[in-house]
């Protein structure tokens, strides 16, 4: 059996000799390709020393040839030698694979802060954003959204709204006229008349739309802007309903703690008339934001928003509604001003310049 043992020992020694250079493998500072080279060499060794044609494989065939009483012991010797070779290689193999895997991960490490890949999306105009928000609120409150003509007759722009000939509000210095004497509507109140003619009463509508006034553009004026007009006519409608409705939609837009304030005012198409303010959405009516004067309300805690009142009986009569049976409220305000407030836009001319650096700020 000694020959056979010697053969096993020789195979083992040959392996140790070949493997020597990997015995104390230190991969510190080695590159991925170094490690892959070593792995290839180790795999080659594995084939050479454990493959079918290896010296170790040959020794297995000797097991049958040793005498039966020695066969068990010899078998164990062969097994031990093979296990030693396999496990030695496996250890290095594992070390290498771990190194390679780590190196690959390092190599493929991403900069996750680089922006995601997606098409550039655009932005709705701030006026559209605010308009849609408010329309949604009013639709949920049972209002129908309406709009109508932008070029109007004197009748719809003034007369039906109780603004008779010679009234200061009719001054052409405020209103654009066409060469044929038509007016660009100077308020969305025209839709009150058109809508009541179409729908009759009772009615609840919200009319957003463009209006035009002869203002030379500056930081707070533009000759074309947007208004939103609300109208509710029914039996038994009072100013309390006006206050409740205005307060409700402002709360839905700006939060439950929003308060409103109504001040007596004058509009030809309402009587009594009121202007309305709401508590500043930014400073919650305190006038201070982060220890500075709050910007949207200029430190007052209140934001002046629009005009309102009980629909003037002459307006109701103009659409054949009996003011002794029906009453109603109307309110209106500027969408552009609302957008300017919400986004703290300090120059409303930007709204119509369409500079994309401006437009892209709104969501």
């Amino acid at each position: 059996m000694s020959d056979e043992k010697a053969q096993v020992e020789a195979a083992r020694a040959a392996f140790i000799n070949d493997f020597d250079r990997f015995a104390e493998l230190n991969l510190d500072g080695r590159s991925l390709s170094d490690a892959e080279g070593i792995l290839a060499a180790v795999n080659e060794l594995k084939i050479r020393h454990t493959g079918k044609k290896s010296a170790m494989a040959a020794t297995k065939k000797l097991i049958g040839k040793v005498p039966a009483d020695e066969r068990g012991e010899f078998g164990q010797i062969v097994q031990a030698a093979e296990t030693e070779i396999v496990s030695t290689i496996a250890a290095v193999d594992e070390q290498l694979n771990e190194f390679i895997s780590k190196a690959k991960i390092e190599l493929e490490r991403l900069d996750v802060t680089i922006p995601g890949r997606r098409p550039a999306t655009g932005h709705l105009h701030p006026i559209t954003i605010v308009r849609q928000k408010i329309e949604d609120i009013f639709v949920s409150m049972g209002y129908a959204i309406e709009d109508d003509r932008e070029i109007e007759t004197d009748y719809y722009n003034f007369e039906a709204l109780n603004i008779p000939e010679g009234h200061p509000a009719r001054e052409s210095q405020d209103t654009f006229y066409t060469t044929t004497g038509l007016a660009l509507r100077s308020q969305t109140s025209t839709v009150q008349i058109r809508a009541m003619e179409r729908r009759g009463v009772p009615i609840r509508i919200l009319a957003p739309g463009k209006v035009f006034r002869r203002d030379t553009p500056d930081m707070t004026h533009v000759p074309m802007f947007h208004q939103l007009e609300g109208l509710c006519v029914d039996k038994g409608i009072t100013m309390a309903h006006l206050k409740g409705t205005v307060t409700e939609w402002l709360r839905r837009l700006f939060g439950e703690d929003t308060k409103t304030r109504f001040r007596p005012s004058y509009f030809p198409f309402t009587e009594p008339s009121a202007e309305f303010d709401f508590s500043c959405f930014k400073c919650h009516g305190t006038g201070k934001y982060e220890n500075d004067r709050c910007r949207p309300c200029k430190g007052s805690g209140w934001i002046e928003l629009g005009g309102s009142g009980m629909v003037h009986p002459n307006v109701l009569r103009a659409v054949n509604v009996d003011p002794t049976i029906y009453s109603g409220f109307a309110f209106g305000f500027g969408l552009d001003r609302m957008a300017a407030l919400m986004y703290e836009i300090d120059d409303i001319r930007y709204l119509f310049e369409n500079d994309v650096r401006f437009l892209e700020q709104f969501k």
């Binding site: 105009h125 049972g142 010679g166 463009k210 709204l351 369409n354």
Partner: protein, 647 residues
């Protein structure tokens, strides 16, 4: 308007501080914009609504305070010296009311032996407090009385008035006096004119002359016709006292008597409750009205006499407002009206929202441009079909004037606006651009009602490179097909997927890169690269593509409902084919030609790629298409397909 707190205190007892007066006045509708200290006085800056000319004086504001606090207004002292009437002959030399329609009442007072000089300090101070400059004692007194009692008045040099040029008016009644007859240091005899002119007339004259004065401002809003002689007396008395004059002749010509005015209410508390929900006792209603000078008629308890200074009260609702504002709007409850019904959007709004959203997702920013544009755009753009009325003499709607230079045309196209926006962005070095606008365009309409056509369009502009979000490098140059794709995607989002694009010339588009867009055999718009000429006008150096569609018509077209088709049971086989074709042959031609052969197995023809340029004749292009073969009965085998394909 500036009101002096100390001056008010001469007219009414006030226990409130200036700040409290300010907040109380604001509460009842006289909006105090600011309270500014001035020496030992405070000046209240009141922003009056145009219906309250009666408050354009300290007396008027004092009346409101009376209604707030319950104190009474003390009339400024006026002597009860007997008036010396002018002899009638002389009177009509001085005062001739040619048109009693325009001048309802006219008073004139002669004050003799006046010595023109500086005003006493207290008058100078009062006037200064409210921002008025001192001129001389007589002018200052007339100004003082106007601010005190609200009655504009004018002092003339009586001797100069006589010799005044008959051709030249001595004054523009109610607006300003003439230079020839104005008070100078040499003046000794003063004629004090206090009159009432028709409001509308003053307004017209003032507008015509482009001249607004403190006097015209008050006259056109309405002064108190019953207050004329009192104001004249007050001024004359002050002149006598502080300019050493002697009261002389007085004349009061009052041809157009103001009719007493009434507002009728049968049940004030009920009217107040009906309109405001407030419960105000009848006695309180009367107290408020009385304190404002509105009294219940003794003969008819439903009639309320409107004082001569209030032009804004004529109906019950007006009385309700007076009672309500003095009761306090803050006392009105906040209630929601009873439930009504379901709300609704405008019929096209939901689809427009989808359309907007699709364009946003495709990278478009929404623009809003002015509805009035320059007339030079008339020839530049070809409006969408059907907008202009061929029978109208003037095609376009034009404004009488504009506040933006040249912009008098109501836009027949949105393109001028969006291209202006493109230019603005180019100037900001923003060259990769996708913009759209949805808005109305306008055109004259012939026919009876005469109101112009208003039509909502969708326009878009696309230029530069295709950008990814957050990445500075553009992927490739945008072209016609990007614009076309955007239009297709946007309209598909609103249920319109059978648009037909046909090559054809459009005024503002470059020939060969222009198409008309049709839906249901009707041309609804155009798309393409803007013409060289237009690009030159805008000084654009890069290709710019635009589209404009009649959105209003499109959104009223019927959409085809989605219908399920059973899924193919057997796989398809595709074959790609490249054709070298003359440029006049279109993809649509080839597709239609293949499909028209009616090969049962050939299910679809789709576009793969196009190539033109190097290696291909200038009048040709290489078009690669994909043919899809499929059977509903079996899995096709290659040879079968090859056979059909070969045909």
């Amino acid at each position: 308007m500036n009101i002096s707190y100390n001056w008010l205190k001469n007219l009414i007892d006030i226990d409130l501080s200036a700040e409290d007066v300010a907040s109380e006045l604001t509460r009842v509708g006289l909006a105090v914009e600011g309270v500014h200290p001035h020496g030992d006085d405070f000046v209240l800056d009141i922003d009056l609504t145009s219906n309250r000319p009666d408050c354009l004086s300290h007396l008027g504001v004092a009346r409101e305070i009376a209604a707030i606090t319950g104190a009474s207004v003390k009339a400024p002292a006026v002597s009860d010296e007997p008036e010396i009437p002018l002899p009638m002959v002389l009177a009509y030399d001085v005062v001739a009311i040619n048109d009693p329609e325009l001048c309802h009442r006219f008073t004139a007072r002669v004050i003799k032996n006046v010595k023109i000089g500086p005003s006493p300090a207290w008058i100078v101070e009062r006037l200064e407090a409210i921002g008025e400059r001192s001129i001389n004692n007589v002018a200052d007194i007339t100004n003082y009385v106007m601010h005190e009692l609200g009655q504009p008045m004018h002092s003339f040099d009586n001797s100069m008035l006589v010799i005044a040029d008959a051709e030249k008016p001595a004054a523009i009644g109610g607006i300003m006096g003439g230079l020839d007859s104005s008070i100078t240091e040499a003046t000794t005899n003063v004629l004090l004119e206090v009159a009432f002119f028709k409001r509308e007339n003053i307004r017209q004259t003032s507008r015509k002359l482009g001249l607004t004065t403190e006097a015209s401002y008050r006259f056109e809003r309405g002064v108190d016709i019953d207050n004329l002689s009192r104001a004249s007396d007050r001024a004359a008395e002050l002149i006598c006292e502080f300019a050493g004059g002697e009261m002389a002749e007085f004349i009061d010509v009052y041809p157009t008597k103001a009719e007493p005015r009434y507002a009728v209410s049968y049940d004030l508390p009920r009217a107040v409750e009906r309109l405001t929900g407030l419960k105000v006792a009848g006695s309180e209603c009367l107290r408020i009205l009385n304190s404002l000078g509105i009294s219940q008629s003794e003969e008819d308890p439903a009639a309320f006499t409107v004082p001569s200074w209030r032009y804004d009260i004529s109906i019950e609702e007006d009385l309700v407002e007076e009672i309500t504002r003095h009761t306090g709007y803050e006392n009105i409850a906040e209630e929601l009206p009873p439930a009504f019904g379901a709300g609704e959007y405008q019929d096209t709004e939901i689809r427009k929202r989808r359309l907007r959203r699709t364009l946003i997702d495709l990278g478009f920013n929404e623009a809003i441009t002015y509805s009035f544009i320059d007339t030079k755009n008339d020839e530049r753009f070809e409006p969408v079909p059907g907008l202009l009325d061929d029978n109208a003499d003037e095609k376009f709607v034009t404004l009488q004037d504009s506040v933006i230079e040249g912009a008098v045309r109501m836009r027949p196209t949105l393109l001028a606006g969006v291209l202006d926006a493109a230019k603005l962005n180019f100037n900001q070095q923003h060259k990769d651009l996708k913009l759209f606008e949805i808005g109305k365009t306008f055109a004259t309409k012939s026919g009876e009602d005469g109101l112009p056509t208003e039509r909502e369009l969708l326009s878009l502009v696309i230029t530069g490179g295709d950008a990814n979000a957050g990445r500075s490098m553009t992927q490739r140059e945008l072209d016609f097909y990007d614009a076309k794709g955007a239009v297709e995607a946007a309209l598909e989002a609103v249920g319109l997927s059978n648009l037909v694009f046909s090559g054809g010339d459009v005024g503002h588009l470059r020939s060969g890169q222009a198409a008309t867009i049709s839906s249901n055999d009707r041309v609804v718009g155009s798309i393409g690269r803007i013409s060289e000429e237009l690009a030159g006008d805008y000084k654009f150096k890069q290709p710019v593509y635009v589209a404009e569609l009649d959105l209003q018509s499109l959104l009223h077209e019927e959409t085809s409902p989605a219908l399920y088709r059973s899924l193919p049971k057997y796989p398809a086989i595709v074959r790609d084919v490249s054709f070298l074709v003359n440029r006049t042959v279109t993809f649509d031609d080839i597709r239609a030609s293949i499909l028209s052969q009616g090969r049962e197995l050939c299910r679809d023809v789709s576009f793969v790629d196009v190539y033109e340029g190097k290696g291909i004749e200038a009048n040709e292009r290489s078009l690669t298409i994909r043919l899809e073969y499929r059977s509903d009965e079996r899995t096709l085998i290659e040879t079968e397909v090859d056979a059909v394909h070969a045909e």
